[in-house]
Symmetry: D3
Subunit: 131 residues, 6 copies
């Protein structure tokens, strides 16, 4: 189901089970491999671990734990300044202009699954390749 | 089938029944909710009504009634200067440079359904969120 | 399955049979019509022939024959300076910055099929219409 | 004072004498050659005449005569779909979203002369060269 | 020296006297009107005051007082989500990817005065006009 | 005349003495420090030498020696995939679409000095849109 065996792995932080399932299906249909983290803290640990080659972050803003999505993205960018970031929110969308990182995408709920796929594809297709 | 209950509603003006069905299927597959208007006049009435939260306009150029797609888009932009606009045409595509509104997308027929979905997603993903 | 009878025809150069099948399915699902060339030389012949209205080029870098993907794209651009170009590669991706043509997209393997569709749609949706 | 003898000629429509002088100085300092038209009608006649190779249009919105800046730009684009267009206005700036042409720049008064030079340079530097 | 009497006022935070003078001259030459704040705290007070119509913020990162440039920009964006922001730094430039706001420009020292003028002009020329 | 002592150094390849003087003046006025190479071969040697921190390349296409501007830019990008590149040409401008490198700017002669300064500033400023 992939072009060259491995699927690009996308780290997703979404604590609502129903939406989580929806996102997993959406990403799989697009040919991505979703990896779900339960909280911002867990996501940062996974990113720092560097065992898995995550290609992008998709995160809600209001999360379990102390860390919110804005903070997770900032930490991701401290590890890799070019890491693709997609935020999702309803209530917090207006804060993107002051709390978001440069070159990120904010998806305002409600959004269509196609918007999430296009957002990821656009960010992954941009930028100078490194391999 | 949506992320957060409601689907983003897209106002579509296409008077050819066959193409209309195709566009409805394409948008639904992408997770949008198409709302079809039969003419430019009807579309403008719906936009001015402000009862429904239309998120974007997809319009053919040659339409029933007196209004053409260029004019509908202009009226939509008078109501909301940032309203996403996607035009579709075969014969009139070359007029986009003089009759289209800024930051709109012109799909030249024949185009792939994926182009319509990507166009909408791109326009909806761009810009500073307001909620 | 198209909007206005004909599907946009995409010229694809991929000599690995398995990946070729994957790309054909991906493009068809998006509503494009893939046309496969076996080598760079064959692709250039097809482009110069001008019998078919190819709308874009999707090419691997390492190809059968003497021509590589960089060279095919350059020839395509000599015929049409605005021809949309999407490259695919794992090993050669880093050469895009010195060997790619302007306004092209480089997909680093592994990439999700959605990335290929979005890349094509984005390039085809951009630019001044010519009809 | 140019690179290769001729200066790029910019067609300017501004009927206020004081601002006209300011724009002429600004453009000359940047190395452009301003050509002033007194009205929209005169500008369109000059563009259609095709004797002079105008490289871009800079226009106010409220003009002498019947034609306003929006209409002049539309006519310029009917002649050349890629013609660079810069509008200037105070009162009419908000209409750009519904009356402007795609890929144009709207300078809201008050603006700095540097903004006009950067706007022209940006539009002229973009796009596929034709010589 | 302006087009329409008032010059666009740019709020600048730079505590090094020598560089401050250089920036004032650069902005004035471009036709802007620089307004210097001595610290981040002062700048935020001025922005909240809403007496002066500041059109953009230009800020160093390391500032007098407790607030750094990253924080000033965030506060500016809380007041106006579309406020143009230009950062300047040598030592802190690499933090822009995690601490900068979306759609901002980071000027790495050493930079040419022309880069500052172009950065401001580009940000001011982009976006939907509001008057 | 710089912001932080050193001026950004721009490597320029232009063998016409008159134009060379013009470019040197233009770049100096903008606050850059031009460094002139007499041929493509000399430029590549300087870039490979890595003694001087060149920030960008400005090159004519037809050059003394065997190397043309297209080839110099390719070699510059092999050394640094993100190296800013500005080409200048009259006769060869149309070849940019097939021979230019991605994310480069082609200045068609005749162009205004302001266009060269804006082109360099845009490429050097991080986060500046390129369309």
């Amino acid at each position: 189901m992939a072009l060259d065996v491995d699927l690009p792995i996308i780290l997703v932080i979404e604590d609502d089970d129903e939406i989580q399932g929806l996102i997993e299906d959406t990403l799989s249909d697009g040919g991505f491999e979703p990896a779900i983290a339960a909280s911002g803290e867990e996501a940062v640990t996974l990113l720092k671990g560097r065992t898995t080659n995550y290609r992008a972050l998709v995160t809600d803003i209001g999360l379990r734990g102390k860390m919110n999505g804005w903070e997770v993205a900032q930490q991701a960018r401290e590890i890799d300044p070019e890491f693709p970031v997609v935020y999702m929110s309803g209530a917090h969308a207006a804060d993107w202009a002051s709390k978001g990182v440069p070159n990120s995408i904010m998806l305002e709920k409600p959004f269509a699954p196609a918007q999430l796929v296009t957002a990821l594809a656009t960010l992954l297709n941009t930028g100078t390749p490194t391999t």
